[in-house]
Structure formats: C-alpha cells, structure tokens
C-alpha cells in the first residue's frame, strides 16, 4: 500500500488522514505527544458524513516518519507552516509534498526547506474536531489539486484518485491558480468581513436591498480581488461572488476560521490571505482601498488582544 504522511491534524488534516487510512498506510505527525498517543491508541473516529474509525500511526518526531513515504500532505494552519516545514528538512526523501493552506504563498514557504516535488491544493470541505481522536465531516465539497514544482497534472491526478478512493471528493487540474485565486478572493472577503462583524457566513453577505446592506461591500471587495487576478494574468475558475451567494443559500451558518480565531483571540491567517491579496495588488499596481481597509482593521483587531 502507498505510504502517506499527514502533517498537522486539525479538522482538515484529520479528515484527510482518516479517509486515506482506508486505502493507504498513514502516519500522522502531530505537535503534542498526547495527540499522537490518542491517535495510536484509539484510532481516528469520523462522524457526520462518515461513520468509521481509522487505524493509523502517529508521532511527534519527524525523524520517525517512514523514509519510504510517497506522499506528504502538510495540513497545518498557514501560520504554522514555516516551522513545520523547517522540522521536516532532511526527511521524507522520496515524498511528493502537497500544501493545502488557505491563501497564497504556502508552496514557496515549503520550497525553501527542501527539494521535494511539490503539489498545490485548496480544499472546500470542512469538519469540526471533537477532540484529538474524533472529527466530524461537515461539508463534503471537493479538494482541488494541481502541479507546482517538479510535478505534472498526472501526479495531481494520482493523488486525487487516492483521496477519492478513501471516500473524499477531489479533482486534479493542469494549473491550480485559477481555483486557488477564486478561493483566495472568496476567503479574503468573507473571512475578513466575518471576523470584523461577528457574523457567521449567512444571508447578510449577499443582501443588497438597502444601500447600507453588507452585500454591497462584499461585492465591491470581490470586484477588487477580480481586478487583481486579471492584472496578475489569472483567469478565475469560479466567480467568488457566486461562490458567496451559493454558500449563503445552503441554509447552514458557517463560522469562518478567521471569525473563530478572533473570538478566541488567536492569531489569524490574515497575512497569507488578505495580506497576500494586498501585496499582489501592490505588485500589479491595482488599487484595492477596501481590501486594504479590511486588512488593516483585522490586523488592528489582533493587536487589541492585549488590551
């Protein structure tokens, strides 16, 4: 069987590890020893859209990872990626490494720490962790995969097929940037607005009846993002405004991670999402005054944790 390493077992990492363990030998790399021990002893339970318990290996020691792993998925939060990639330096000699973080720039961060062939991924699925050894599978939307460095669409397809065989949805693309940018613009807008207002991603985000309704701001932010994508030569895979409208029509109140982070007074993924978009805008000479305001406000909100 294929050997796979999943580094980082938050909700996305846990969902990938548990499902892949049905079709591959999976080792999970965690930060905390209790977390690894719980996974080794209890397995990893999936509830919600799935109902099974996966058996897998787990460790906190990068040196203990199987040297013959063919695939390593780095599934930590964007803010933890650089230290994680640093811990993996010199390990996993035969592995293709796949990033799956929100925003832009994850691939470059990992590329700086090793010569591994790299795949890019974005995921639209969601889950909720109910402890170290239990994850609820909530939204069964797909993970999209594309080549980045030293890989081809065929490599992306093999990983997508493996993930599908495990019971999740996945699709390979010749170039991931159109999908990655669609999600970037969607996340920068929706997560930032949710973090500042305290609103989950609900009907307010598409409401445009009154001039002061939030939908106008959301649409204007999306339009700024589209202008940046166009200037960067990226043809978007999906219209982020339509992604927003669709998501608000699911009748399910989604709490974006940036809102949860702000409410728990944790550092957010602002830099790799909104910060990345603002920097791309500057590089391409596109004015984005509203996205810039959003970015500065969330950044200041993080600074207020110490008040």
């Amino acid at each position: 069987m294929t050997r796979v390493v999943v580094a980082g077992a938050g909700s996305i990492g846990s969902l990938l590890a548990a499902h892949l363990a049905r079709v591959a030998d999976v080792t999970v790399l965690t930060r905390r020893e209790e977390h690894a021990a719980a996974l080794r002893e209890q397995g990893l339970r999936v509830s919600g859209r799935g109902d099974f318990t996966a058996r897998l290996e787990a460790t906190t020691d990068p040196a203990a990872l199987p040297a013959d792993a063919e695939l390593a998925i780095l599934a930590c939060k964007g803010t933890d990626l650089d230290p994680l990639a640093a811990r993996l330096e010199g390990t996993l000699p035969g592995a293709t490494v796949m990033t799956i973080q929100n925003g832009l720039g994850a691939e470059e961060v990992v590329a700086a720490h090793g010569e591994w062939p790299l795949l890019s991924a974005v995921t639209f699925m969601s889950g909720t962790r109910h402890g170290d050894a239990h994850v609820e599978y909530v939204l069964d939307t797909a993970t999209w995969i594309g080549p980045y460095r030293g890989t081809t669409e065929a490599d992306a397809r093999r990983v997508a097929e493996l993930i599908e065989a495990g019971g999740l949805k996945a699709q390979a693309f010749p170039d991931l940037r159109p999908a990655q940018w669609s999600k970037l613009i969607f996340n920068a807008t929706v997560n930032g607005v949710a973090a500042l207002t305290g609103l989950p991603h609900d009907f307010h985000f598409a409401q445009t009846e009154e001039p002061s309704d939030l939908g106008h701001l959301v649409r204007d932010l999306v339009d700024e993002g589209k202008a940046v994508a166009a200037a960067a030569g990226v043809e978007l895979h999906d219209d982020p405004w339509e992604m927003n409208v669709l998501a608000t029509q699911r009748g399910h109140r989604h709490f974006p991670s940036m809102l949860e982070d702000v409410e728990a007074r944790r550092p957010t993924e602002l830099e790799s999402i909104n910060g990345a978009l603002v920097r791309e805008a500057e590089r391409n000479g596109v004015p984005v005054p509203l996205q810039t305001a959003l970015y500065r406000l969330v950044k200041a909100r993080e600074a207020s944790y110490s008040e």
Binding site: V193, L196, T197, G198, L199, P200, D202, H204, P211, S212, D213, L214, H216, L217, D220, R253, P289, L290, T292, A293, L294, R296, L297, K299, A300, R301, A303, S304, E307
Partner: protein, 306 residues
Amino acid sequence: MKIAVIGTGAVGSLFAANLSLLDDVEVWAFDLNELHVAAINRSGLRLSGAGDVVGRPRATSDAAELPPCDFGIVATKAMHTEPAIAATAHAFADGCVATVQNGLGNEETIVRHVERVIRGTTFPAGKLLEPGHVQWDVKGDTTLGPYDKGTPLAEVERLADACTRAGMPAHAVEDARGPQWRKVIFNASTNPIGALTGLTHGRVCERPDLRALVTGLVDEGKAVAAAQGIELDADPEELIDHAARKDVAYDHKASMLQDVEARRQTEVDYLNGGIVRFGREGGVPTPLNAAIQALVKGVEASWMQS
C-alpha cells in the same frame, strides 16, 4: 421664557439642570425613562464632576403635559429623533427647536414637525450614573445657527444667551454647519475604527496603517462638506492628533466602542451613513465611509443571531 429639553440622557441633563438655575427660565425635561423622571421630580437633577449642580426642571414622560415653549432642545440619540419630536412638536408651535445631537440629518427630521429649527453642535459630555444623577465629564462650547431662513437669528441669539448665562457657553452664528461637520467628520473617522478593532483612540492613531485609514475617511468627509460649500471651522486631522495625546484622550474608548461592547445600537447611520447620503446627493464618492457603515451594521446584525 420656557425651554423643554427633549431627551435627558447625559447631554440633555447638562442643559436641563444648568438652565433650570436661571430665574427667568422655566425648564421642562421630557424623557421616556420613568425612573429618571421620578428621581428628578423627587430630588432634582444632580450633576457632579466638571461642575456640581442640582437643578430643578419639571420632568415628565407624558408629552401632553408640556406647555407651549419658546425653545426646545433635542438631545436624544439620533435614532430616536423622529418619535421624540413627533410626540412633542405641539409644544413648539410658536417656538424654535434646537438639536444638540450627534450626526447628520436630525435637523431634516425635526423640520418635518416644527417650522423653526436651530442647528446645534455641542462638546460637553458626561454619563448617566443613576436616575436623577449625571456625571459631567468635560465642559465645552455649543454653536447654534438657524437651520434655514424660517428661523430668525435673533431667536438663536436669545437661546445662546440663556445657555451662556447658565454656564453652558454657546455662540449664535449665521451658518453652524462648519462646527457640525467638523464634529461629524471627527466622530465618523475615529469612532467606528475603535468599535471595529477594540482599540482606544490613542492606539488607533499610533498605528500608521490605521491612522492612514482614518485620513481616508476624513478626506471623504471633507470632500462632501466642500461640495456643499461648508467651511470647516477647524481641521479634523489636527483635532484627531490632539485627542490622541497621552494627556488628552489616548485611553478614551470611543462611544461607539462602548455601544458595541454593551450591544447597544450605534449612531453609525447618522455619522458615516450621513456622510454617504450627503455624498450621494452631491455626487461625491464615499466608498470607505460606506464600507465602515456596512461593517458596523453587520456588527449590530450579529447580536440578533445569538
């Protein structure tokens, strides 16, 4: 002379208590807070802090009790202007009504109910400590001016004179829009930033990126004012920097941040929303003020969810 103060929260109480000390003025205090009204009628309206005063206005929650008055002073929160003036307008059939409220649009609301309206901007501040007792935090001037040609300047002067004699210094001017817009631009450019980030005024201003956002908001406000031919009486930028000093208001939490922390409806529709509305009428784009208004409205909407 009879004066009715409509809405006796902190600012209304400062006017009502001080004016009631004058021998030639009979002051009425209208407020829907019945505990506050009962306390005023029982033990007077007490101010402490920047000045210690016990005033004896006649207080009521029943608009029908108000006699015909020479002047009204509306001091409610801006979202309560319409019901407050609709209920009390009968008392001002032969009088003038001044607004000393925050924001834009209060005069337009009042003039739908009474003929003679006075535009006012006031700087003293305080807070209601308990029924009948207001803490007077800072003293400050009030500027009054006729809203339109229907209001004689001589009447504005008569009200300003009474306020000044009562220890609430007031100036009557031909065009009171300058001080009003200066205050609105100041508040609209700083209060919501505090409310959205949780930072005090000083901490907002010491972050260069956030201070630049404040300037973006100020510039939109200035452009809207200029398009109407309004000359600001001071540069809001200088006032914002002055207030950020450690010895002035560095640690001040904007009233809108206090509102958000207490989950009270804010005045954002009358601050940023007012700038956006006058901007639309004058063909001046105000994208940042519109964005800030939508975000604060979103914060208010989030309280309905939980």
